[in-house]
Amino acid sequence: MAGKFCVSLTSAKDDPDKATVAFVVANAAVASDKETLVFLSTEGVRLSQQGYADDIREEGFAPLKDLMENFVKAGGLIYVCSPCFKRRKLDEGKLVGGATIVGGAKLVEFLSDGAPCITY
C-alpha cells in the first residue's frame, strides 16, 4: 500500500466544512500508509497559524485542531504556499507543527511520480 497522496486545501474559516473534511480524508490516507501531503494555498494557508483552527468544530467531525495534530503525529506533511502566505502577512514564527513554507516546485516534485491529488 505504499505510495503518495495529496490533499489540496484552499479554504479555512471561509468554508470550515471543506477545511475539516480535507483533514479527515488526509488522515484516512496517512492511516492507510500513504505518504500524505496537505497542500495549503490561497485562504487555506491561514490554517498554518497556531491557534487559528482552535475554534473550528464542524458537527459530526472531530475538532479541526485535533485532526491537524493527529495528521502530523501520524507522519503527514503540511506544505504552505509561500506567496499565498506572504500576501496575507502571516507569521512564519507561528507555524503549526509539521508545516513547511514551500513554493510550487516542491509540490510539483511531490506529485511528479503520479501521486493522486484531491482538492477541497
Partner: protein, 200 residues
C-alpha cells in the same frame, strides 16, 4: 562576553591563516600533486595539517566521490567564520573574486594523474569557471523557478549561478527544482544558492 567570543574567533582565524601560510607550496602527501590553497584549507578542516591531501585523495580517504567531498567541505567552510576567512584568503591568493567559486576546484575536479604543478597556469587544466550572480530578492514560487530556468538556459553547461533568494519557500523550492530538472545544487547558505548548470 560578546567581546571575549569575538576575540576567540579572531584568534582562531589568525591561527588558521598562519596554518594555511605554513602549507603554502606543499604537495599532497599521497599523490604528490600540488595543493591549491583551498585544498590546504580542506585538509586543515579535516585534521590533516601535518599530512595534507588534495581533494581527490581526501575523497578517497573518506570513500566519497571527489565532487561530493568538495561540496561537503565547502558547506563546512561556509558555516564557520574562521574557515570562511581562510577561503577568502585562498581566493585572493589565487586571484579569484572573493564571491566566486575558484576555478581550481570548479567546474570539475582534476584527477590526480592529470594534475599539474600549481605554478602552471590555470588554463592548462581547463577553462576557468564563469560564475554569474542573480539577486532574485523576494521572488517566489513559479515566478522564481521560471526566471531561474531562463537564466540557466542562457548560460553554458557547468557554469555556476549564485542566486540570492530571500523567500522562505526557496529553502525547499530551489533544491526540489534542481532535483526535478537535473541542475546541480552545489551548496546552500540561505538566502544564497549555488547551482551548476546541467549539460544540454
Amino acid at each position: 562576553m560578546e567581546r571575549q567570543a569575538l576575540s576567540e574567533e579572531m584568534e582562531r582565524t589568525l591561527k588558521l591563516l598562519a596554518d594555511l601560510e605554513g602549507l603554502r607550496g606543499r604537495d599532497c602527501k599521497r599523490c604528490a600533486s600540488a595543493l591549491c590553497h583551498h585544498e590546504a584549507l580542506f585538509s586543515l578542516s579535516m585534521g590533516f595539517k601535518n599530512a595534507p591531501l588534495c581533494c581527490s585523495c581526501l575523497a578517497a580517504e573518506f570513500e566519497r566521490e571527489p565532487a561530493q567531498m568538495r561540496d561537503e567541505l565547502w558547506s563546512f567552510v561556509l558555516y564557520r567564520p574562521c574557515h570562511r576567512a581562510g577561503w577568502a584568503w585562498a581566493n585572493r591568493e589565487e586571484g579569484y573574486d572573493p564571491a566566486a567559486l575558484p576555478g581550481c576546484l570548479w567546474p570539475y575536479l582534476r584527477k590526480a594523474s592529470e594534475r599539474h604543478r600549481a605554478t602552471e597556469s590555470a588554463e592548462k587544466v581547463g577553462e576557468p569557471c564563469e560564475s554569474e550572480a542573480w539577486d532574485a530578492g523576494d521572488m517566489a514560487c513559479g515566478d522564481l523557478v521560471l526566471e531561474l530556468r531562463l537564466r540557466l538556459r542562457a548560460m553554458k553547461p557547468r557554469q555556476i549561478l549564485r542566486i540570492t533568494a530571500t523567500d522562505s519557500g526557496a529553502r525547499e523550492d530551489i533544491p526540489a527544482w534542481c532535483r526535478l530538472t537535473g541542475h546541480v545544487l552545489l551548496a546552500v547558505a540561505h538566502p544564497q544558492y549555488w547551482i551548476e548548470r546541467k549539460e544540454d
